[in-house]
């Protein structure tokens, strides 16, 4: 079989997810050897036009130019992967969607001269095009990236399972931050896969991987109120990494 042609693209984002590919140092050269990287501007000077077998897209869509490119990329890629919270759910760039300001007011706050800034609400890429696989998290999980690439090489489905972060916390035998410390942890509504990275280090989950399957955000929102959070605090929790999603919207709207 020919090596799959791979491409990496970036929209509105911090580039951390692409960097996380280069952070695979011990196996980077092996991975690179198993595929044919055709487009990766951050790492290479020679980049080639599509079509590609797998396209990884980092970042939220926030401008007409990005939307145009995304549609072209979709046509060029057999498998399109949303890489990281920004591409999967809108991520931190989507916080602006809920700032209560109009786009114009925001632009005036940041820039004094408003020439041709064209920006619209930040959306996940599947708001506009069909997405075949998701690498959740802020940043995306490196191990899941490797699983996805090796699965593609074998022609099988990567089988990511999005039960809640709580499950991983239990496997690690952590004390629950909500029950034992009264902290506002989003783990019970957030998709697992990070190995409960934050709660294992004493930090409440902030929901960076987006909604778990069958999550009950409304109920968690009420628990947060019982823990002493204000209504605004609760809204901020649910309108952060995945505020666009219907699941987390239910949490924000429950209080």
């Amino acid at each position: 079989m020919a090596k799959p042609k791979i491409a990496f693209f970036k929209f509105s984002s911090c580039a951390g997810c692409q960097l996380n590919v280069l952070n695979l140092e011990p196996i980077l050269l092996d991975i690179v050897g198993a595929v044919d990287i055709r487009y990766f501007v951050m790492a290479k000077r020679e980049n080639f036009e599509g079509p590609y077998d797998i396209g990884f897209v980092e970042g939220a869509v926030t401008s007409p130019r990005e939307l145009m490119e995304l549609k072209k990329i979709r046509e060029e890629c057999s498998i399109l992967v949303a890489q990281g919270a920004c591409a999967c759910h809108g991520g931190i760039p989507s916080v602006k969607n809920f700032s209560g300001m109009t786009q114009k007011e925001m632009e005036q706050r940041v820039y004094t001269e408003l020439w041709d800034l064209k920006s619209f609400p930040a959306q996940a890429i599947d708001y506009y095009v069909k997405v075949d696989a998701y690498l959740k998290g802020c940043p995306m999980d490196k191990d899941e990236f490797v699983t996805l690439v090796t699965s593609a090489l074998k022609g099988i489905n990567p089988l990511f399972r999005y039960h809640s972060v709580c499950n991983e916390c239990k496997l690690k035998e952590n004390n629950c931050l909500v029950l034992t410390k009264g902290k506002a942890c989003m783990g019970s509504v957030t998709a697992a896969g990070c190995g409960a990275q934050c709660p294992s280090l004493g930090r409440p989950c902030e929901g960076c991987r987006g909604p778990a399957s069958d999550c009950n955000a409304a109920s968690l929102a009420k628990t947060f109120i019982d823990l002493g959070l204000s209504r605004d605090d609760v809204v901020r929790k649910f309108r952060k990494y995945a505020g666009n999603t219907p699941e987390f919207s239910k949490g924000a709207e429950a209080v």
Binding site: C14, A15, G16, P26, K44, S119, P139, L201, R203
Partner: protein, 437 residues
């Protein structure tokens, strides 16, 4: 008569999305020299208003995945200044160690993966790895980069976005035995860092780089008694010397039509350079002994106004980072968990850190409920954009005898000297070079 135009859309081996557009007139005069950043703005300064004080450091580290630590630590310190929070010595040391880990990761990435391919004639580090002689070097570089990353993972739980560092301290601290394992690896990595300085000096001594000197103001932090990383006073090669929190008054910016980032000048003066070269120039005496020794061995003297020598400065800082990280680990001993404790208070605060690619400034106002009312962010790359355009204007006329292909590469290198992160700058690289016949 046609202009000679160098145009590169998507500048490779930088982070983010931008373009170079240069137009050269018939007499070799530069009619236009623009570095255009295509990154759409993400409006952090706008949407942070109304968020909680503890979300500011969490969110601003998402401005740039290449220097998240610089943004995060500047914001943490600004919030702490605003609310009058004092942190322990252990927290200060851990924050420094965390940031030095990031310098090791970032400088190694830049020297070997982003810059070296230009000097050695490869399109990427992956192509370099295909050369049997270079493969061992690439492997060593990747393992040094990994070491920097492992320092982040140990202290903050993740290579990029931190999970443990919060206002007032850390939610978890590494054990002394894990830190000492890192120290052993740092010890082993030292020779390679020293070799990096020699490599940088060798490649930058090739023609035409030694001739490409342009004096401009170099701005960095400077701290009493130690090399600056997470704080200090704002100083420059032209005599600027003010407390870091006064940055909004001294480093001012203008918004330039046609570019999504802001162009920075020192008040009453001109464009300036930030980053490793500025740091080394302003703080040479504070580098570790071995870092100073290797600098002298390769003939590096300060002040050095050749931006192509940034690759040497990064190597020197790698040696310094390794030495200092080992000292920090010794001083940290066996860290114990300290619960972050503070009261939420209204206030205003500003702070500056040295991200790997230069000063990173954050600050604003927080109300009595801990809600952000105003936040100001100036990332290192936006400081450098205007200065880089002046490099183009000054250097391109010296390089007119090169073919378009060669000249384009040199222009790209002028950008890569700054190790720019364009996500940072907007909060790009396309070269577009046109000459008139």
């Amino acid at each position: 008569m046609s202009d000679r135009r160098i145009f590169v859309d998507y500048i490779a081996r930088t982070e983010g999305d931008g373009a170079i557009d240069i137009v050269i007139g018939p007499n070799g005069e530069i009619k236009k020299a623009r570095w255009e950043v295509w990154e759409p703005p993400r409006f952090f300064e706008a949407f942070l208003v109304g968020r909680k004080y503890d979300e500011i450091p969490e969110m601003v580290q998402r401005i740039c995945g290449i220097c998240p630590h610089g943004h995060h630590l500047a914001a943490v310190r600004a919030v702490e200044r605003a609310m009058g929070v004092k942190v322990s010595r252990q927290t200060t040391l851990l924050r420094e160690l965390l940031h030095y880990g990031d310098w090791i990761q970032s400088h190694t990435l830049h020297v070997y993966c982003l810059a070296a391919p230009d000097y050695l004639g490869y399109e990427s580090v992956l192509a370099m790895a295909g050369n049997e002689e270079l493969l061992p070097v690439v492997k060593q570089a990747l393992s040094l980069k990994r070491l920097g990353n492992d320092m982040s993972v140990l202290i903050q739980g993740n290579e990029i976005q931190n999970r443990t560092s919060v206002v007032g301290g850390f939610t978890a601290v590494p054990s002394g035995s894990e830190l000492r394992k890192i120290k052993e690896r740092l010890k082993e990595a030292k020779d390679f860092a020293v070799a990096t300085v020699r490599l940088g000096a060798k490649v930058a001594s090739q023609d035409p780089y030694p001739q490409l000197v342009r004096k401009c103001e170099h701005v960095s932090l400077r701290e009493e008694g130690k090399y600056p990383i997470n704080g200090g006073r704002l100083v420059s090669t032209e005599g600027l010397n003010v407390p870091d929190w006064e940055y909004p008054e001294w480093l001012i910016e203008k918004h330039v039509p046609g570019c999504n980032c802001k162009h920075a000048i020192v008040k009453g003066r001109d464009s300036f350079l930030v980053g490793p070269l500025a740091r080394v120039n302003n703080n040479f005496d504070l580098l570790s002994k071995d870092a100073q020794a290797i600098a002298k061995e390769v003939g590096f003297t300060v002040p050095d106004f050749n931006p192509f020598h940034s690759i040497i400065a990064r190597g020197i800082e790698l040696v310094h980072a390794i030495d200092t990280a080992m000292e920090l680990i010794d001083e940290l001993g066996d860290p114990v968990y300290e619960e972050p404790k503070y009261e939420i208070k209204a206030g205003e605060g500003y702070a500056v850190t040295e991200a790997a690619r230069g000063i990173c400034c954050h600050g604003g106002r927080i109300d009595k409920d801990g809600v952000c009312q105003k936040w100001d962010i100036v990332a290192p790359t936006s400081r450098n954009v205007y200065n880089l355009e002046k490099d183009f204007e000054y250097f391109v006329p010296k390089l007119l005898n090169l073919s378009d292909e060669e000249l384009t590469l040199k222009c790209e290198m002028m950008i890569r000297n700054y190790d720019p992160c364009q996500s940072c700058a907007t909060h790009s690289i396309k070269v577009n070079l046109r000459r008139e016949a």
